[in-house]
């Protein structure tokens, strides 16, 4: 199948804080949950994989691509969904925002329109195509953000607390879309431990260090135990 995600002794300094502290990992699993308390380094880890932050030291390989040296290749490989539904919409209307993701691919007009149509349908946004994006509800905006990422057909989807701003129903909707069986890999940063357990493997972060990787149920109970004391 796809190539693994490999980190070798990765450190990331942000300001004067060591946000990631010698993280080494080899990930083959399809759906990877990332858990840990506030400030433990989850987002930094996700941003390193997505090429939004460069490691201060160490090397990273995402499906055989070096995020620092091969940033263009990485962009084609990776889709990213963030928490804040408002800060991910670029274009004024729904259909245009979805189409925006295809701009850099320079597709023929008809093909790009067809891909937008299919993607909007997949996320139940067809009826809203011409609506102003800021008129949407938070859940609809997050669906649009996901749509904008999926439409580029990434091999790897990175989602950093994609359900953080949503109510239970919308959170479930987004989670179901993300976890649905596809051939794209998922790295899902989440505080929702039930969601983490729906993944194939979990990675636990504590204070910038990666302290465990393995069966989600095991790691979740370990994490909960560490919270209790």
């Amino acid at each position: 199948m796809t190539e693994p995600i490999i980190l070798d002794d990765v450190c990331v300094m942000l300001g004067d804080r060591l946000a990631l502290d010698s993280v080494s990992l080899h990930l083959d699993a399809h759906r990877i949950a990332v858990i840990g308390s506030n400030g433990s380094g989850k987002s930094t880890f996700a941003r390193v994989l997505g090429g939004l932050v460069s490691p201060t030291t160490g090397t990273v390989s995402v499906h055989g691509v070096d995020p620092v040296r091969q940033s263009a290749a990485l962009r084609r490989l990776v889709g990213f969904v963030f928490s804040n539904p408002d800060a991910q919409i670029i274009m004024p209307t729904v259909a245009e925002d979805a189409a925006f993701s295809l701009r850099s691919e320079k597709l023929p007009r008809a093909e790009s329109a067809e891909r937008v149509r299919v993607a909007l349908e997949e996320f139940g946004l067809t009826e809203l195509a011409d609506r102003a994006a800021y008129d949407l509800s938070g859940g609809q905006k997050q669906l649009l953000a996901l749509c904008g990422a999926v439409i580029r057909r990434p091999q790897l989807m990175i989602a950093d607390e994609p359900t953080a701003y949503l109510d239970a129903r919308n959170a479930r909707l987004i989670a179901d879309h993300l976890l649905a069986p596809t051939d794209r890999r998922l790295v899902l940063v989440t505080h929702d431990l039930e969601l983490a357990q729906r993944c194939d493997v979990a990675v636990l972060f504590e204070d910038g260090r990666m302290t465990g990787v393995g069966d989600p149920a095991d790691l979740v109970s370990r994490y909960e135990a560490s919270l209790a004391c």
Partner: protein
């Protein structure tokens, strides 16, 4: 006052964005250059009504647009009537409102994407002066999208301050608003990168 595209099917909707923008620009210019007389006010009004009928956008929508500009009407007229004779005040206000409402026809009947494409094509001759039309179009698009978001952030800052009993003041507003706006810009930057803008 942010008029937005409403889907429609008449010929005016389907007309290509570039020529449409150009024609509307000419009409707006013509209306703006009318002399300040009662006759001009009548002509400006008639041209506006005609534009909304011919484009099949409809007189009802014209009504909405005029209502949307009510503060502009009040302020423009209010200032003018203080310093100018009644005839000039009425004619000037009519010209300003007609120009805005006619210009709104473009935004109402054209998808922003098409508008930006046309804009990009229109700017292409300036490439030789080091201008990147795609960049400029992108900045405009982001600006259009971001204005309502910033408005909401501003309201949020105000409410948070009121909830803590802070007194309304410009200085106590500006700093927190700047902070949330910059945070928003930061997040938007990440989203742009993630979606292939380099």
């Amino acid at each position: 006052m942010l008029t937005l595209y409403r889907p429609g099917t008449s010929w005016f909707y389907r007309a290509p964005a570039g020529p449409k923008a150009f024609v509307l620009l000419l009409v707006v210019l013509a209306v703006s250059l009318l002399p300040s007389t009662y006759l001009s006010a009548a002509i400006a009004g008639a041209v506006t009504v005609l534009a909304y009928i011919v484009s099949r956008v409809g007189v009802a929508e014209l009504g909405h647009q005029v209502v949307a500009t009510r503060w502009i009407i009040v302020i423009t007229f209010g200032f003018q009537v203080l310093f100018l004779p009644m005839e000039s005040a009425i004619a000037n206000t009519a010209r300003v409102v007609a120009a805005i409402v006619i210009a709104a026809l473009l935004v109402l009947t054209t998808r922003v994407g098409d508008l930006l494409d046309a804009f990009e094509r229109g700017l292409r001759p300036f490439t030789r002066f080091g201008l990147d039309p795609a960049r400029v179009a992108l900045v405009l698009a982001v600006a259009i999208t971001t204005i309502p978001v910033l408005t909401r952030l501003a309201v949020g800052v105000r409410e948070a301050q009121r909830a803590r009993g802070a007194r309304a003041g410009l200085r106590s507003f500006v700093i927190p608003f700047l902070v949330v706006s910059l945070k928003h810009a930061d997040e938007l930057g990440d989203a742009l990168t993630a979606r292939g803008v380099s």
